[in-house]
Amino acid sequence: AQTVTQSQPEMSVQEAETVTLSCTYDTSESDYYLFWYKQPPSRQMILVIRQEAYKQQNATENRFSVNFQKAAKSFSLKISDSQLGDAAMYFCAYRSARGFKTIFGAGTRLFVKA
C-alpha cells in the first residue's frame, strides 16, 4: 500500500528567508501525481503545487518550488522569501495515475517569524 511520510511535525522560518519541508512516499508504481496543499488556520485547504511523476522538471509556482527525486521517492517543498501569510499546515499528497484515492501525509505546521 502507498504511504506518505512527513517527518517534520513543525518547522519555523524567519520572514524573507527560505524553508524546505520534507516528504517521502512509498509506492511500487511508476506513474503518479504528487501534491502539496496548504491549510491556513481556520481556512480551507488549497493546492500549492502539483508534480507529475513522468516529468523530470521540478514544478514551480512563484515562490514555491519542489525538489522531486523519483528514485529516492522524495518530494520536498521549498518556500522562498517566506511571508507571514505562509504560516499554515502543509500536507504532502500522493495519487496513483491508475487509481482514484489520494493519500495525505500527517502534515507539517509552518511558523513564520516576523
Binding site: 501534491f35 496543499y37 502539483r50 489520494t102 495525505f104
Partner: protein, 114 residues
C-alpha cells in the same frame, strides 16, 4: 466561481446521537470526496463519488456512516450513531477532472462528540 460549500460549520452532539453534513461542490465538478481529518493527522478519504456513483468507499465505517449524492450534485454524509472517536473535521472536496486529481476543498465541518 463559487467554491465548495459545507454546512454546518460546527456541530456538537452527544454519543449515540445522529448527525448529518451537507456539501455542495463547485458547479460542473463530477468528482466529490468526503474526508475525515482527526486533529494532528492528514485527511483520510471516507468516500469518493464520480457523478452519483461510488468510486471508493473502502474506508467508510459502513455500520455507522452513510453518504449519498443525489443527481450527481450535492451530497450528504450521515453518522448514526456517533461515537467519541468520530470527533474530527469532515472535509468535502470536489474535482473537475479525476485524472488531474486536483482537489478543491470546502471549509469543513468540525464535529465534537461528547
Amino acid at each position: 466561481e463559487a467554491g465548495v460549500a459545507q454546512s454546518p460549520r460546527y456541530k456538537i452532539i452527544e454519543k449515540r446521537q445522529s448527525v448529518a453534513f451537507w456539501c455542495n461542490p463547485i458547479s460542473g465538478h463530477a468528482t466529490l470526496y468526503w474526508y475525515q481529518q482527526i486533529l494532528g493527522q492528514g485527511p483520510k478519504l471516507l468516500i469518493q463519488f464520480q457523478n452519483n456513483g461510488v468510486v471508493d468507499d473502502s474506508q467508510l465505517p459502513k455500520d455507522r456512516f452513510s453518504a449519498e449524492r443525489l443527481k450527481g450534485v450535492d451530497s450528504t454524509l450521515k453518522i448514526q450513531p456517533a461515537k467519541l472517536e468520530d470527533s474530527a473535521v469532515y472535509l468535502c472536496a470536489s474535482s473537475l477532472d479525476p485524472g488531474l486529481a486536483v482537489h478543491f476543498f470546502g471549509p469543513g465541518t468540525r464535529l465534537l462528540v461528547l
